[in-house]
Symmetry: C2
Subunit: 524 residues, 2 copies
């Protein structure tokens, strides 16, 4: 039996798909295509309105779509090649699912009549997609592709954002379709009930120590302003998770405390809280389990209370709550007092954060995958110029540089600063090439400590007394040392190595004054 012949005089499935995506507001496609996606590429080529951005590895593609969505609130499309291409993008889809962001994955599959033959690249694409997707569908024929695409965008955009994975068998791309499908209505954030607001009012009026745990929209704009008014009026604390998808920080913004990473410090941090009001967040959970320590970090005697679930209108809820308690005076905003530069000398993690905060331009975006090197010095940028901070929300390392890439595509007029641990950087270093090709305004600072330092820090935490050389070799990523200047230059990104605070400050300051991708290896 031969495969059917392609559409000739009419629109094909791929064209109906691309037109539908464009009509539904999808403007960017992060892509790493293969043979089975050629008709989609052909459609991208012929149809105006969708910018294709090539990644040389699929982890870059999915992580960039995450960063783009965090900054725009809109889904990008990804284009992935069969099961293995999707597989390479799964870790950053895991992260994106945990944010969550809207995203439409288009995953090519073998032509329908080819799927039963166990060709080398045959795999269960839907099985790969399911663990990271809120919505999975395989188009059964070319004439249904457009409607499926409209449904995928709808699923992606439903609040608070979902991962929609549309599987596109190659023949459904090349066969004849009818027409694009019209955009479908999208469910925005659900309104929060009066009773939810009333419960929070009661908790605040009860007078015991109250803290708000904020996530999602609640860490930005009107929501954050309302939270600030509530805090000013009531003395309630404003807290965010250790890793948040996006938070507005810096001068003029309301200060939000960051929950510590490890269970012990997190419990101490929350100790005495009587009510923990959740706005788009879940009750706090330890990142990892440790022997003899709890998983749940809500301290004994503290009651978690949901003001807004993640799919609900946290902004409206915070504003209603502020109004209900008469919190009209503005909250206390951070001063504009960028951190002082460190003294010259060997580079420290604190020094990097000081330098980045000192020179940070107004309205910059920080993609923060500093992990253990960044935690203690995070507060320093509270008084830097106003900026957005994007963090490793799903815990799967290797999203910092792709997220920076997507954020730069989303916001071409804003400087992106990618603060990046070296071990994690190696997972998706191909991001630098896309930054070079697209001439993105991203400055990457590599924390070159030449170790999986977070693991070294964990030896005691997990109850291992000590680890000898064979075990240590699993945490040590030196021997040989990575040369990030060469790695970056190898992908077309200008780079420089800094081994002192003075050199780092000079390089970073220069990068802030220019446009285009740059990398600075900060040797710790």
């Amino acid at each position: 039996m031969h495969q059917p012949l392609p559409a000739t005089n009419s629109m094909n499935g791929a064209e109906s798909l691309v037109r539908t995506l464009v009509d539904s507001g999808v403007e960017v496609c992060f892509a790493n295509p293969g043979t089975s996606e050629m008709h989609f590429v052909g459609a991208l080529d012929r149809i105006e309105g969708m910018r294709p951005v090539l990644g040389l590895f699929e982890g870059v593609v999915t992580g960039a779509a995450d960063g783009y969505a965090r900054m725009t609130g809109k889904p990008a499309a990804t284009l992935l090649h069969l099961g293995p291409g999707l597989a390479n993008g799964l870790a950053n889809l895991h992260n994106a699912r945990k944010v969550p962001v809207p995203m439409v994955n288009i995953i090519g599959d073998h032509a329908s009549a080819h799927q039963g033959f166990d060709a080398p690249l045959t795999s269960d694409v839907a099985a790969f997609a399911r663990p990271v997707s809120h919505w999975v569908h395989s188009s059964p024929n070319a004439r249904s592709v457009a409607a499926d695409a409209a449904r995928a965008v709808q699923a992606a955009r439903n609040a608070p954002g979902q991962i929609a994975s549309l599987i596109l068998p190659a023949d459904t791309a090349w066969l004849a379709a009818d027409r694009p499908a019209a955009p479908l209505p999208v469910l925005g954030p659900a309104p929060v009930s009066d009773s939810a607001v009333a419960q929070s009012v009661a908790a605040l009026k009860a007078g015991g120590p109250v803290a708000f745990l904020l996530r999602g929209e609640a860490l930005r704009g009107r929501a954050l302003a309302a939270a600030g008014r509530i805090a000013a009026k009531t003395g309630a604390r404003l807290i965010c998770d250790t890793f948040v998808p996006r938070v507005e920080r810096g001068a003029g913004r309301i200060r939000v405390e960051r929950l510590p990473y490890r269970p012990g410090p997190a419990l101490e941090f929350l100790e005495g809280t009587q009510t923990l009001i959740l706005v788009g967040a879940q009750a706090p959970i330890a990142f990892f389990a440790y022997p003899g320590q709890p998983s749940e970090l809500t301290p004994p005697g503290c009651r978690p209370l949901v003001l807004a679930f993640p799919h609900e209108d946290g902004t409206g809820a915070l504003e209603a709550l502020a109004e209900a308690i008469g919190a009209t005076a503005p909250g206390k905003a951070s001063a504009h007092a960028p951190p002082a530069l460190p003294a010259d000398g060997p580079i420290t993690a604190e020094g990097i954060m000081r330098i980045a905060g000192h020179f940070l331009p107004e309205n910059a975006i920080i993609s923060d995958e500093t992990i253990s090197s960044g935690f203690p010095f995070y507060p320093l940028n509270e008084t830097a110029a106003p900026h957005d901070s994007l963090q490793l929300s799903g815990g799967a390392i290797g999203d910092g540089m792709p997220v920076a890439t997507g954020a730069a595509i989303a916001c071409p007029d804003r400087k992106v600063v990618s603060l990046q641990a070296d071990g994690s950087a190696m997972y998706t270093l191909q991001s630098l090439w896309t930054q070079a090709r697209e001439k993105l305004d991203v400055t990457t600072v590599i924390y070159a400590n030449r170790a999986y330092k977070v693991l070294m820090d964990e030896v005691a935490g997990v109850g291992l007394g000590s680890v000898g050389p064979r075990g240590q070799s699993m945490f040590d990523i030196g021997n040989p040392d990575l040369d990030w200047v060469k790695l970056a230059e190898g992908m077309g990104v200008e780079a420089v190595r800094a081994e002192s605070h003075a050199a780092l400050a000079a390089a970073f300051k220069a990068a802030m004054g220019q446009r285009g991708p740059r990398l600075i290896e900060a040797v710790l």
Copy 2:
């Protein structure tokens, strides 16, 4: 509720696991651990007999375990961090499943009591594992880990080799276990029935054109010698798949023809064959579906006949068949006539293959991920020094350099030559760092054509008339060009660029005369 405390006076689950693996003959662990696998690392540290090899990305880890298994026939362990760490290794597990090879994946998971809380790194680990695994199990408690490990090794070693994925919740690693488990019996290749041999005898005696399609063990050693005797006696053709996991080639070996990649040429190649005798192979299938072309490549009028299924003893079957037809005279072995060097001038894909074949040392291992650049020139090495050739068996690009890495760990006394397309190389370039750390004797030659050339070649095949600049930008991986010398040096591997045949020949010859990792960027 707090997590339970670790074992103190007795062996813990991780120790029982490592001891069981060692007792079952697992000698190497390719690893990229995280917090949840720290106790396994601690056990690796304390227990002799398992060599840990760190990869800076999980695709390196799983691909190296594949290469190791192809060369030794034995499973390596992999150590992977939770669902996302496994996800990063899935594409090369897909490849390994398609070989198939034996492999034991140890995948950490959150502690049992932590799994219900949707921590950032929580995911459905088993769901990620299933599509690429023949055997998946999550240890329910520390005392069962040893027995589970013995079963995992058994599953991995059952013929023809399977992917066994053992999920290890962190608490089952740190809590007290009893003792290691003894190795379990393994099912070797099943004997082929007399009737299967008799059917093949009849087909050969019937006199119509017969071809053998060989895979697995049938492409090596005694099996290949027996196939050669049969071919000499009967005139039957010996054929292998376009991509085989491993084949013994070169001077003194029996020549096996390679099935062309695209359906049209493959059908022509097989035209007139009356019986296609399958030894460890399936009937041939097109790699991709193309409009208007068939998926099945067995030509009309040709009968496929299974002499040995992949789990059966193809070697014994071929020897029995040779004996049954009185094929005692040795087959025609390839002469020793290495390809002539190309004339000096700009580098061509043919030139690279000639130079590699010309200088190839005896008993080398070629890891071949040359894809479209390699196909036409593959026959050149038929008369090179005897060697093993390992190819991209599952079609998921990015296994060439990891497979080379694992093969070098498996065979420290043999030179490994990694012939590598540049686009595919970017998927798992972190392999070079492991080659540097372990001082592996691998020479990588990058075919720097700066394109996904196979896709450019596919535009016509899939029925796209032409593709304009926006589409072409998805196939072109130049702009900016990758600099493989810098990328390799950035990971501690000596490298040189060659832009002429003379320069390439000099660099390759020098690399063959030295030990240790080297990379040559051959600019096409």
